[in-house]
Symmetry: C2
Subunit: 393 residues, 2 copies
């Protein structure tokens, strides 16, 4: 817990925790994690996708345990970071008995997707599904991911070579970021599947004009059109159980009180445990948005910026994690993950599973995010039990 506090000091914005992919704060946090890995007896380095990689023991096959150290804007200090620190703690606590596989702990840097259009580049690189076009995506200041990686000390041309052919399994510990474990009074859970996600960028073009002189009936106001669309998206999501839809990002131009917004851009984030359900909601939203744009005489361009299918966790690994949780004296709860995780990109590469830790009030992506020291201890003990008893490899 002290290390999580210490890690939270690395931020772009004093007074809050904001640590975006490839920022200076990310670099400082990565160097700190590398140091802790070395203290735990691991060989550690930063790879060409900006992930910290710590290797322990040896073997033809590798158990990878990962999570991420980038954060959203004004974040909590457990999302991602807990999974990395917990894994290092488990390695520190391992007895010297050799294991039949190597272990690598990965601290990925690009899970939250708040900086560049495409995300999960670190985990995709090692899973072998990194799409090189992501390198051309630019942040709000016009800096490409390629240039940012170079500034971080990485060689983006080597990312494809990070693919690992030796993965026996991928495991991730993470805070739940939802209210289920707390409601069921369980400290730890086994994830059954990670919900799929679709992320869209919607760009509207109308006509800027003076707020005092253009009659209401002659306006092509893109911010009013965006408001119409946001309500349509919310209404549609409310009608479909298990689906959530969020518009979290918006930008109006020129963004002045006395000018009708000539351009408005906003994001749409859709999540569901079922891919067909999510795809049909995506289609319905696209249709509704085009109808509104047509009615309001504004131009519309909808771009798909992120697509992740629902990812099922490996049943054998789920069972082993359940046993490991049981060994701490608790009954595991099996639940789906509403949030996306680095783990999901390993589907199709190697067996993958996740363990969730209870968090207060289900609050996440918020400075109020918190877990108890007791629950953190249970999680590390369960991970240690899993490592020493798993039949992988």
């Amino acid at each position: 817990m002290a290390r999580l506090d210490e890690l939270a000091r690395f931020t772009e914005t004093p007074g809050e925790l904001t640590r975006r992919f490839l920022s200076d704060a990310h670099k400082q946090a990565a160097l700190q994690v590398q140091d802790w890995m070395q203290q735990a007896g691991m060989k550690a380095q930063i790879d060409d996708a900006g992930s910290v990689v710590g290797r322990y023991g040896s073997g033809a096959r590798t158990l990878m345990i990962g999570s991420h150290i980038d954060t959203v804007v004004n974040a909590g200090k457990y999302d991602g970071n807990f999974g990395v620190i917990a894994a290092i703690e488990a390695i520190s606590a391992l007895p010297p008995t050799p294991l039949p596989f190597a272990i690598e702990i990965l601290a990925f840097g690009d899970e939250e997707g708040v900086r560049f259009p495409k995300t999960l580049s670190g985990s995709k690189a090692v899973a072998g599904c990194f799409d090189a076009t992501a390198l051309d995506g630019c942040d709000q200041d016009g800096m490409s991911m390629r240039a940012a990686l170079q500034a971080f000390g990485c060689n983006p041309e080597h990312i494809q070579a990070l693919k690992r052919p030796d993965l026996a399994a991928y495991i991730e510990l993470h805070i739940e970021q939802g209210p289920v474990l707390e409601r069921e009074n369980r400290p730890l859970g086994v994830v059954s599947a990670i919900n799929g996600a679709t992320r869209l960028n919607v760009s509207l073009t109308g006509t800027a004009g003076h707020a005092g002189t253009v009659p209401m009936t002659l306006r092509r106001d893109t911010l009013a059109a965006a408001a119409d669309m946001i309500l349509a998206i919310e209404s549609l999501a409310r009608q479909i159980p298990d689906l959530v839809a969020t518009v979290g990002q918006i930008k109006a131009l020129p963004n002045a009180a006395n000018v009708i917004a000539g351009q408005t851009i906003f994001s749409v984030d859709l999540r569901a445990p079922d891919d067909h359900l999510r795809d049909s909601a995506h289609n319905a939203i696209t249709g509704a948005l085009h109808d509104i744009a047509q009615r309001r005489l504004v131009g519309i361009e909808i771009t798909l910026t992120h697509l992740a299918k629902a990812a099922r966790c490996d049943p054998a690994l789920q069972a082993e994690l359940g046993v490991a949780i049981g060994a701490t004296g608790h009954t595991p709860l099996t639940l789906p993950s509403g949030a996306g995780h680095d783990a999901m990109v390993f589907t199709g590469t190697c067996p993958m599973a996740m363990m969730f830790v209870r968090c207060a009030g289900g609050i996440s992506h918020n400075p109020a995010e918190s877990i108890t020291t007791e629950d953190a201890d249970y999680a590390i003990r369960a991970l240690l039990h899993f490592i020493q008893n798993t039949q992988i490899g």
Copy 2:
């Protein structure tokens, strides 16, 4: 027209015209205007409110001719600037015959209100209605108007002393910023009254949360609430003839695609020719917004940031401007102004009137803003006729 092009080079943002109050671009433009005033035979200086003041001739009483050289973000080059340049051109063209009054041309710097919470500080200062609390208002970077004035070379403590006891009349030339003169095929118009304006800042507080894990029914999403409110405002304004309402500025926090917006702030701008109509719309909007906030369980704070009563133009000056327009060979059209202008703060101080110049498509606050050289020439000739024939003073 060449001078208007030249003045448009002074911008904060290369490739577009953005010149906010007390910016470096504003300082450069002010020095250029001061130089042109001196070339036209005027004594010119920058006063403690950041306005350029050029004095011509002498007399116990003064005819003030003003407009502004600040702009909105990504502006056109005629709004405000035309009135200043046209007045300098008229002075240059005056024959040496002494006039029974002094003339002062004022290039105000704070008409658009895009930087600080309160606006029109330059014209309010000379009209004697400047409210010193405006100095404490801060821009988005946290800089107060007081500090910005000091950096500009002004002494904000001397602003109250700028009040002029000797004003015989205030006249302003401005582009129409609306489609009426063009539709009626008239180059010039006489303004009957300036619509009143109410500007509000609405701040909503909900709960930030993870876009994937918080069910739709448990959200306190401030951006969805803002969307609801924007549509309510639009709908209300559409029901009331002559009223326009605009939400042009919005900011969601933390403004990330995968985080429910915990805070959203937006502006509301209301305009109407009748104060009672505008006040009742203001009340109706306040009520509707509070209802929506209550229904969505979000906190709401509505702040009045700007209030300007409808301002009637002086009938005698209107008649003289009509005669002056007639002298150019055109029939004047009398029309109200949908936009606010520096002129309105002179109500109660001295007789005030405005002349409008036709602009293409009624487009303003937009780079596509344009007027013809011919219409500009008619406007300057009419102003010259007015100066030589007015019975003021």
